[in-house]
């Protein structure tokens, strides 16, 4: 492993505590930072946004030694702003989703597309190699998958990555911010209108066409699937019937 020679960038957004609303480093990005720290190498933290946010300093406490700041007005195009600063890195890490704003999870993809890099998302562990990196992805139902991806690459870290961000106050005092002046960008009008989430979303459904009695039944009668019933045969036959069912539906592969 020659990981120490690698240049690693971590994209850092501003987050907020969901209970108190207090600004903080973005939780998912902290996981990316911690994973990157464990890889060693030459680490740069990059944030596009308002330079005056005090909570950004907490990234230092969580182990970033420096923070490159790309000033960007509220609502600006984060991905484009970041891309201006991201040339030449071997690995670009980011959290899955920002908790402070739109949180679309699109930024790493846009960065990868613009830079022409491969991207792997839902990553929980990383091993660096010479030409490629091996990552472990979290899949549904607790499953895992290992993927080898050529470098340079973009990695989006899964929210349940197996690392614990470590906050050390002494490091906060030692961190420094470098402001990078990005080329001016045309502001884009957002098509979105934001409002406080007060109600649960309304389900998209077809206009009700069922009869009154049918509406009643659909509320009070448990769903009946009428699957196969096997009553005859020995317990051994029945055990085989279960295995056959599982095989038929590819639920077991033996």
């Amino acid at each position: 492993m020659t990981a120490t020679a690698r240049r690693i960038a971590v994209l850092a957004a501003l987050g907020r505590n969901p209970v108190s609303g207090k600004a903080r480093p973005n939780r998912d990005d902290l996981l990316a930072l911690e994973l990157a720290r464990q890889l060693g190498g030459d680490l740069t933290l990059i944030h596009a946004g308002n330079p005056d946010e005090a909570a950004l300093g907490d990234y230092f406490a969580y182990g970033a030694s420096s923070l490159d700041l790309v000033p960007l007005a509220d609502g600006g195009d984060v991905a484009s702003a970041l891309v201006t600063r991201l040339a030449g890195y071997d690995l670009i890490l980011a959290g899955s989703r920002a908790e402070g704003g739109e949180g679309s999870g699109l930024v790493p993809y846009l960065v990868a597309e613009t830079l022409g890099l491969p991207i792997v998302a839902d990553v929980i562990a990383i091993t660096l190699g010479d030409e490629a990196t091996e990552v472990t992805q979290a899949l549904a139902k607790g499953q895992r998958r290992r993927v080898r991806v050529t470098l340079p690459a973009v990695i989006a870290v899964y929210p349940k990555a197996l690392v614990t961000p470590r906050y050390a106050y002494a490091r906060r005092l030692a961190g420094r911010v470098t402001t990078y002046v990005a080329p001016a960008m045309e502001p884009v009008a957002s098509p979105w209108h934001r409002e406080a989430a007060k109600k649960r979303p309304v389900k998209f459904r077809a206009a009700e066409t069922k009869s009154g009695h049918a509406r009643m039944l659909s509320a009070i009668v448990a769903e009946a699937r009428g699957g196969a019933v096997i009553a005859a045969g020995t317990p051994a036959d029945k055990a085989q019937a279960i295995l056959a069912y599982l095989r038929l539906h590819k639920l077991i592969d033996w």
Binding site: R200, G212, H213, R215, M216, A219, I220
Partner: protein
């Protein structure tokens, strides 16, 4: 320990802050004293819930505001008179002392009533359409009457406020007068009170304005309404959402309470207090639908029985307040137990609907599994330790009566041995739970099972108790709760001895295999007969159910018989009321049942493969006669003190050495029901 942050979070309605989200929603208690006044029993019933931690109780389901909406049938609270203020004030003061809030439901029932009795009023409804469930013949309401009733609402609301209550809930659910105006099923008017939805809503809107006018801006006014009537010609969910939105927009109401299902036919009525056959929270989607169109809190009851379930619904943002009304009838201390992390000690409602089925028969609401509910003056919900001598109590029989006796005696601090011949406790309830969609009857046993184990009752299972075994324990008190067995010998012609017929228990217990063509003869017309017919038909038998009663399941209440009927009709079970079973004889490989018409004495025959008979039970009293003479009290329970809820006089006897007292509870005396067995045990053992 599980926590329930949403359930236990306070909420503010208008200016009223509730300590948690648990509500006891309005129901007819049938406890009011003559004239519709809440008395001691009524107040104590609610006080117990307040002590138990309920956030808000809404009392007085269907309390009429007008003199021509009779209250006598449900013994409900009468808001049409100033005499109500003082007793309601006592109730308010009591609830507030324990940190709970109290509101009352107010309504005019319109056609949903019976004209006979009290003042024999002519019932009123928008278009004079008769209400089927209550046989509510009614006249077309006139505009003068409409205006007068609107005023009545306002006057009643003033009385409620004067009594120091925290709010008033206006009922527009269950087809009361307001929703009789709303519903195209009952409103065919062409004047400004009918026709368009706007016109149909006029009456409700004016009632709300009048009430708000009467109580001022800071008093809580709620509205209870339906979420879907489930009738083709009735109000559907979308229309009710429109109505809810409109009512919310009036800014006159502080919350909306949503009920699923119409209530003016036997079949829809059965949904309103969903019995155990229905899935949990079957209608919460309707409440959530209404919530999506209003910006005031939404309350919903209907089969929310468990803290985890309630927390899930609140956390999902479907509703803001959970009605857990039957849950607190079963255990008024439910909230406290949830709060303290003692969820496993909650006596959970199983949806047997004994409470509501009694109410629909005009009887006071009682809980099938909690004999202390509504008897708070005499029966304790929380059993305290005895200050008298510590005794050895032997209870024989692990059915509901025996379990309650063991639980209560143990809670009094005595050493309790419980003998049960089966491998599991539960007794006849275990059989009752075998019938389709009656499985949750086992929930009654579940609590007693866990409680007797938790309390440390010495349970001896799997062996039939003999007098020697009982006396070998050197008991001070013996309580027999040995239940009974199928009463099949009453009519020799049934041929039970000869194997021509089997009992319902034989079928439910699996002792007898279901036959192909089966005649079920149900003398009792209670749950067992219909449950057995359902059990058989579900397993593919072709079934006819015969009863001498006027209708099948005649002794099953108004919210439960429709459940049986839904299933029996769907399974093509033929119902034949008004016939006696005279005899059964064999012909070839068939059984011939001879039945006799109650009214003509005419005989008919049925050729079947199996005859199943439900004729109740005979007490198992063998042990009693064996022990009676040896006991100090000769097995006698003193009824005067028992009925007065006082200690049995014999408890003060000297019980040293071999001396012991002998008592019986439940079916081993004569057939009662689950509530009867539990009540017997509680009132006897609470003073041990």
């Amino acid at each position: 320990m599980a926590s329930y942050p949403h359930l236990m979070a306070p909420i503010t309605l208008n200016k009223l802050t509730l300590r948690n989200r648990v509500v006891s929603t309005a129901h007819a208690e049938v406890y009011a004293e003559p004239g519709g006044l809440p008395g001691d029993r009524y107040i104590r019933y609610y006080e117990e819930k307040a002590k138990g931690g309920v956030g808000l109780a809404i009392c007085g389901g269907s309390s009429p505001v007008s003199i021509d909406s009779p209250q006598g049938w449900w013994k409900s609270v009468n808001l049409s008179n100033d005499r109500i203020i003082d007793p309601l004030a006592r109730l308010s003061e009591t609830m507030h002392r324990h940190g709970a809030k109290i509101m009352i439901q107010a309504t005019h029932m319109g056609r949903r009533n019976a004209f006979h009795g009290e003042n024999w009023p002519h019932l009123m409804t928008p278009s004079g359409i008769r209400e089927p469930v209550h046989r509510g013949n009614a006249k077309i309401i006139e505009i003068e009457e409409i205006k007068r009733i609107i005023k009545d609402f306002g006057v009643a609301a003033r009385r409620v406020k004067a009594a120091g209550m925290d709010g008033i809930e206006i009922s527009a659910a269950h087809q009361h007068l307001i929703d009789q105006f709303w519903s195209p099923r009952s409103n065919f008017r062409t004047d400004e009170w009918g026709g368009s939805l706007e016109n149909r809503m006029r009456f409700g809107r004016e009632v709300l304005s009048e009430v708000r006018e009467a109580v001022g801006p800071d008093f809580v006014v709620g509205l209870r309404m339906c979420g879907d009537e489930f009738h083709e010609d009735g109000l559907d969910h979308e229309t009710l959402k429109e109505i809810a939105h409109a009512m919310g927009e009036t800014r006159l109401v502080d919350y909306i309470s949503v009920v699923g299902s119409g209530a003016d036919t036997h079949n829809t009525l059965a949904n309103c207090m969903p019995p155990m056959a229905l899935p949990p929270e079957p209608f919460v989607h309707l409440a959530a639908g209404i919530k999506s169109v209003v910006d005031i809190p939404v309350m919903h009851a209907q089969s929310i029985r468990d803290a985890g379930q309630a927390e899930r619904l609140l956390a999902a943002g479907m509703i803001d307040l959970v009605g857990m009304t039957r849950a607190q009838i079963a255990d008024p201390y439910m909230v406290e137990k949830i709060r303290d992390g003692r969820e496993d000690e909650i006596k959970q409602c199983v949806g047997a609907n004994y409470c509501i089925d009694r109410q629909y028969n005009g009887l006071d609401v009682l809980c099938v599994q909690n004999a202390a509910t509504s008897r708070e003056a005499t029966m304790p919900h929380i059993i305290t330790k005895s200050t008298g001598p510590r005794r050895k109590v032997v209870v024989v029989g692990g059915g509901p009566g025996g379990l309650e006796a063991a639980r209560v005696a143990r809670s009094r601090g005595h050493d309790v041995v419980l003998f049960e011949r089966g491998d599991a406790v539960g007794g006849q309830i275990n059989l009752a739970a075998k019938a389709p969609q009656r499985e949750q009857m086992a929930g009654i046993v579940r609590w007693f099972d866990m409680e007797t184990r938790r309390l440390g009752v010495d349970r001896r299972m799997g062996r039939e108790a003999t007098p020697e075994m009982i006396l070998g324990e050197q008991p001070d008190i013996v309580v027999l709760a040995t239940g009974g067995s199928s009463n099949m010998g009453q009519v020799p012609g049934w041929g039970f001895e000869e194997g021509l017929s089997v009992s319902s228990w034989d079928i439910l217990s699996g002792k007898a295999e279901p036959g192909k063509n089966v005649l079920v003869y149900d003398v009792m017309s209670a749950h067992t007969g219909s449950g057995t017919a359902d059990f058989l038909a579900t397993r593919g038998s072709t079934v006819e159910i015969v009863t001498p009663d006027v209708k099948v399941a005649d002794d099953v209440g108004g919210t439960t018989f429709p459940i049986f009927y839904r299933r029996l009709y769907a399974l093509d079970v033929v119902m034949t009321p008004n016939y006696w079973l005279d005899r059964v004889y064999r012909e070839g490989n068939k059984l011939i049942a001879v039945i006799r018409n109650e009214y003509t004495e005419g005989l008919e025959e049925r050729s079947v493969d199996q005859v199943v008979i439900e004729n109740g039970i005979l007490p198992n009293d063998g042990l009693y006669w064996d022990l009676k003479e040896r006991s100090v009290n000769f097995g006698q329970t003193d009824n005067a003190t028992l009925f007065a809820a006082e200690p049995q006089p014999a408890l003060s006897e000297d019980l040293s050495g071999d001396k012991f007292l002998l008592y019986r509870v439940g079916d081993c005396i004569s057939q009662h029901n689950i509530h009867g067995a539990i009540y017997d045990a509680l009132r006897l053992c609470k003073d041990f």
